[in-house]
Symmetry: C2
Subunit: 195 residues, 2 copies
């Protein structure tokens, strides 16, 4: 909502971004043209790998863009068009790029975050800084390996009662999912851009 100058935006609460918002920063950073508008982004979120990973409806997309603008992570300029509706052209700021790259460097802590958060990190690291891909995968592998170790210890603990039996069922699923994620990460490692 700013027009080049971010003017009188209230500094809002504290900043905490979700995967959708980080991915928007990633889209701005990896755009061929300098700026993108919301409608264009919305289209890109319905196709390809991005569409497989996350679903982002126009309502939320525009909402996120406003929030990112409020926090100064992007700037917005109006592009007037004679024949079509005006466009809000968004451009990443320094703060936005810094926020993005901090996020890209952090591996996720839980296995369930692999499916969404880590896939996004992988995607945008591939597009923006492929030289860091190897590190990203290795670090994530290390985090999950530690987790797997802890799960193994719990699974192998002696079963005292019925409840411990149920708990073990749960932990064995977690362990299986974590190991599958680790195997997948390792299968990625050649990184010679094969399948």
């Amino acid at each position: 909502m700013s027009d080049t100058a971010r003017s009188e935006s209230p500094p809002s609460r504290r900043l905490r971004l979700g995967p959708a918002e980080h991915s928007l920063l990633g889209m701005l950073a990896s755009a061929e043209s300098e700026g993108i508008h919301g409608y264009d982004l919305a289209r890109q979120y319905t196709v390809g790998a991005l569409g497989e990973i996350i679903r982002l409806e126009p309502g939320m997309l525009y909402h996120h863009l406003k929030k990112l603008d409020r926090f100064g992570l992007l700037t917005t300029q109006v592009e007037r068009q004679s024949d079509r509706p005006d466009r809000q052209i968004h451009t990443l700021t320094e703060a936005g790029a810094s926020q993005l790259h901090t996020w890209l460097r952090e591996p996720v802590q839980a296995t369930r975050e692999i499916r969404l958060d880590f896939l996004l990190k992988l995607l945008f690291t591939r597009r923006l800084a492929p030289e860091r891909l190897h590190d990203l995968v290795q670090q994530q592998r290390a985090v999950l390996a530690t987790l797997a170790g802890s799960l193994e210890r719990q699974v192998n603990a002696p079963v005292a009662d019925a409840d411990a039996l149920e708990r073990r069922m749960v932990l064995r699923l977690r362990l299986a999912q974590t190991r599958a994620a680790i195997d997948w990460l390792e299968s990625l490692l050649p990184l010679g851009d094969d399948a």
Copy 2:
């Protein structure tokens, strides 16, 4: 908030319950005593297998209980105590039990629902109707096997462009997670109550 008779509750919107609410129905159904109160439930959600599967804070727990009462899936009676605060004793209704068992019979459709929804179904089927355990696991296995087949076909499709390459990375993770879930289900199948 009914007091034996559900009196003047507004019929509310349509009924759609989440995993937390279904698990509450399950807790009522598997209670040793006829009724349970919220505080007791809250304690049980912090320990054992249930605590591993789902986290349910008091605020949400009481909120869910109210909603289930509004829909007539449970009844609520006040038990006065002289020395301690009054208790709201909740009991499952016919409608509640029917809702629960319908849910228990349905396998989940996506791999990511295994972690929460299916584990709950497994847990409560074990407690309430262990004779259906085998069927539940087999049906879930079948659903995931179909999914895995579809993923395999997509993964093996020829890669045309860079985007298809990224998409394949994503699909390979999905496939790995789905296969891990299938293996785990199969490891459950002996059902001789071993680890």
